[in-house]
Symmetry: C2
């Protein structure tokens, strides 16, 4: 038996369930999105280490997983999508041109993934990696992956990352969204969960007052250590999370 009343947000005639989930080891946000009527669900950026938590939640909420969706090929954690495909009938969805031939579906800029009445629109936002999608959900919230963080952004120093490209993705595509659009990032390291496009345009220190040239310099000067799991995560994620 499943719960009858979920935390739906009614948008027009659509009832959507939206849950943000956190992996504290890698500070990764996973998003569970579902149509409350059809009970079809998507997990965006699921983490292999959290697969049992997420499967239990799907089961308790009476949801059927249709898609495991990636914003990009992750370097910090192994995706749960490969294992979820084995355990359920879900499909693996990645951005167009992502180096994951194993995927079932590739989403190009502007393409829409439908889950019941929920619309998830891919917005190509490369720069952190050479292939990266943000996902606009029902036109009122955007999952920004590692393109845009709350008062930050993803690094651009591996996986063919490119600071100039990321600058254009954020300033020309994400910042062009309506100001009230909610921003749900792929990671947060300071305990923020959500922001808005308005806030990020005004207060994101990576972009406010930065020309493309000064942003490139800022990013090139970061000198960050590699993610701990990069050597295992990237090859695994290129095989849709198979290890």
């Amino acid at each position: 038996m499943v719960v009858k009343t979920l935390n739906a947000r009614r948008i027009g005639h659509k009832a959507m369930l939206f849950r943000q989930l956190f992996d504290s080891e890698t500070s990764t946000y996973t998003y569970l999105i579902a149509d409350e009527g059809t009970k079809e669900a998507v997990l965006v950026d699921p983490v292999l280490d959290k697969i049992e938590r997420d499967r239990q939640l799907l089961q308790e909420l009476g949801l059927t997983l249709r898609y495991g969706v990636e914003t990009h090929i992750h370097a910090d954690h192994i995706s749960a999508t490969g294992r979820l495909r084995e355990l359920t009938n879900c499909q693996g969805v990645v951005p167009e041109n992502a180096s994951a031939k194993c995927a079932d579906r590739f989403l190009g800029d502007g393409e829409i993934l439908r889950v019941g009445s929920v619309e998830i629109k891919a917005i190509a936002t490369p720069g952190h990696t050479d292939s990266h999608n943000a996902y606009l959900v029902n036109n009122d919230r955007i999952l920004t992956g590692d393109a845009l963080f709350i008062r930050g952004c993803g690094r651009t120093d591996f996986q063919n990352g490119d600071a100039a490209t990321l600058y254009d993705s954020v300033t020309q595509k994400l910042f062009a969204l309506p100001e009230e659009t909610l921003v749900y990032p792929g990671h947060d390291y300071r305990g923020h969960l959500v922001s808005t496009i308005a806030e990020e345009k005004q207060y994101n220190p990576r972009f406010v007052g930065k020309t493309k040239t000064s942003f490139i310099k800022l990013m090139n000067d970061l000198n960050l250590p590699n993610p701990k799991k990069i050597m295992e995560a990237v090859p695994a994620n290129e095989k849709c999370g198979k290890i």
Copy 2:
């Protein structure tokens, strides 16, 4: 200059800003709640270690802090309310009978704290500690503090905690709320952020199928180590977070 468009949720004619914030060291959730019109704000269970993050967010959103509100006297972290009182004109608010004489205001069961048009109703829910309030916000979401967690509950083995009392608080008061009420806990250790009363009634392993007697036995058998900071946190919080 502050952002013009915040993530308001319109309830009738009320526009509320609601932000959940996380302290990863102690897995504590802090809640920022504000009236978008009057720009008055409350922080519930603010963490001293995160005071700069929270002050910056208040400033960027153009909010004036009116109250630092505690669900109870915490044992795992030091409250930011004392320091916030020094830095702003906010008042410290605690549950009735909480051992914090320094507080400006004591909220008894059913009392309402108003912040602009936002209503925050205290629901006395002792048991984790002998004085504890949950807070029902605008009648559609409840901050459950350490009474009820997502698929769990607070421990009952210190600060005059009592398992029988907690059982009654949860099953008679919190589970009596409408099923669609959103549950926002004081902590989560597995990466869940929100739940509903319906879900907790059906799936919380601490309560499902448990009589009061079996719940008491379960809680008494937990044998948990003390929180790392208990020796400094409790005395500090009894002085409203002064250290």
